[in-house]
Symmetry: C2
DNA sequence: CGGGCGGTTGAGAAGATTCAAAGATGGTGG
DNA sequence: CCACCATCTTTGAATCTTCTCAACCGCCCG
């Protein structure tokens, strides 16, 4: 029933490999071991410095604090997990706090990303791709977990517009979009029917129109403000 | 208002850099350009082969199809996005389909991961860490987007138990857990009050107990079946 | 002993889903 | 060119889920 407990191997292997990884980070990227007491904010959302952590022991949490006071916890990292492998181009829209006593290896995200990605073009390209993807997922988790249907839909379509604009495919406030309401609903974690009603509301509120094949923001500023949208998590 | 449209630069840079990336993938990892018509399932959830894609043009979707018929769309990749950079140890619990006509560079995930991570221990360690993290997020998105409170809580605590067991820190059906109900609620996208009621239900249903500091499954098999839990997405 | 935090409960309101059905829309074959 | 079909969209009504507000309990710690 519990495969891992059948053999002592996996139990003993973990601390050894973890220590090896920690030592490699110290040697190659200038990391240092650190300790944090419970309930400490280790990395604050929006902070300037980019740091990366490998957890030795204890429990932490990576969370996104919304302006309305809600909080979405995105990850609950434990021993062996890596937190914050993002270059400084990728933003820091998430905070990292300890839950219990926490021991980590900690260092500059930049040194880390160099050691990881300096070898070739592919590595660099992919590294920032993964970082951005991870960013999007954190934001979407906050969307679905903490925001109501209208805000959620608005927020997502603003994000999509910005992504398209970034690659030069469209204007962020007026773009081609081949998604059906059913696909959009499954993306947002809503019923197609409820999404439809929600779209009517945002349309009648003068925020945006979503028709098969086309998204048009009627009042972009109002939509940004309504959804508390800050697209900086798309950078990098 | 729309920074990117102020200069033609970003509009023109994207296709050039993208082609460069595609050519690098062809040269270094044996990728090939491919075309898919709309509404095609390109990579089916649970399929044996591990493939990686760089999107040239068109719209795709990465989705997780649940056994109850619900579907959570995890990503909507567009030009320049990378899909499926997971080693074959990391599972394939997600499908990849085209939405519109889709042109991609496509190849073996294994060749890709070798080119990315063969250089040093850190790269390899981090690569699988990111892949696993990405896996967890996809699953949690499905949790919050598609499953009710009771299933969601059960599913998450089963996952947490397996993560702890994998690092040799606990039994998956009976483990120390320092989270308050409030923290768990913010993780699951629920109110602490509603989570509390939900925990009472699962307790009275004989599935598991969650007390401050301790999680204990009363009937592990029943919980697995209730939550339709399949932990294979944690591998790798 | 008192305060604070976490947990528990109740009642009413808001949000989202389900089921059912009808109106648009675009593409295909006759 | 039109009729028809499938798919997408829209609407209504009833129901269920989840949230909000308010209050109380219990325990640990100072």
């Amino acid at each position: 029933v519990h495969p891992a407990s059948d053999s002592g191997l996996s139990i003993n292997r973990h601390p050894y490999e973890l220590r090896k990884a920690g030592e490699a980070l110290i040697a190659l990227c200038g990391f240092t071991p650190k300790y944090y007491p419970p309930e400490t904010v280790i990395l604050r959302q929006g902070e300037g410095e980019a740091r990366t952590f490998l957890i030795e022991s204890g429990w932490g949490m990576v969370h996104r604090d919304l302006s309305n006071g809600a909080r979405q916890i995105v990850e609950l990292p434990i021993s062996g997990d890596v937190v914050g492998h993002f270059t400084n181009r990728a933003l820091r829209h998430e905070s990292f706090s300890s839950v219990t006593d926490l021991r980590v290896w900690e260092g500059s995200a930049h040194a880390f990303s160099v050691a990881l990605a300096d070898t070739n073009f592919v590595g660099d390209f992919i590294y920032s791709s993964v970082a951005r993807q991870r960013s999007l997922l954190g934001e979407r988790l906050a969307d679905i977990g903490q925001r109501g249907a209208a805000v959620r839909a608005t927020h997502f379509l603003l994000e999509l517009g910005l992504r398209l604009e970034r690659i030069g495919a469209a204007r962020s406030d007026n773009y081609y979009c081949p998604l059906t309401q059913s696909v959009l609903a499954d993306t947002l974690g809503l019923t197609a029917i409820h999404l439809n009603r929600t779209l009517r509301e945002t349309r009648e509120a003068g925020l945006f129109q979503f028709r098969r094949g086309h998204v048009e923001f009627l009042d972009y500023e109002a939509a940004v403000s309504f959804a508390q949208f800050d697209g900086s998590y798309l950078q990098g």
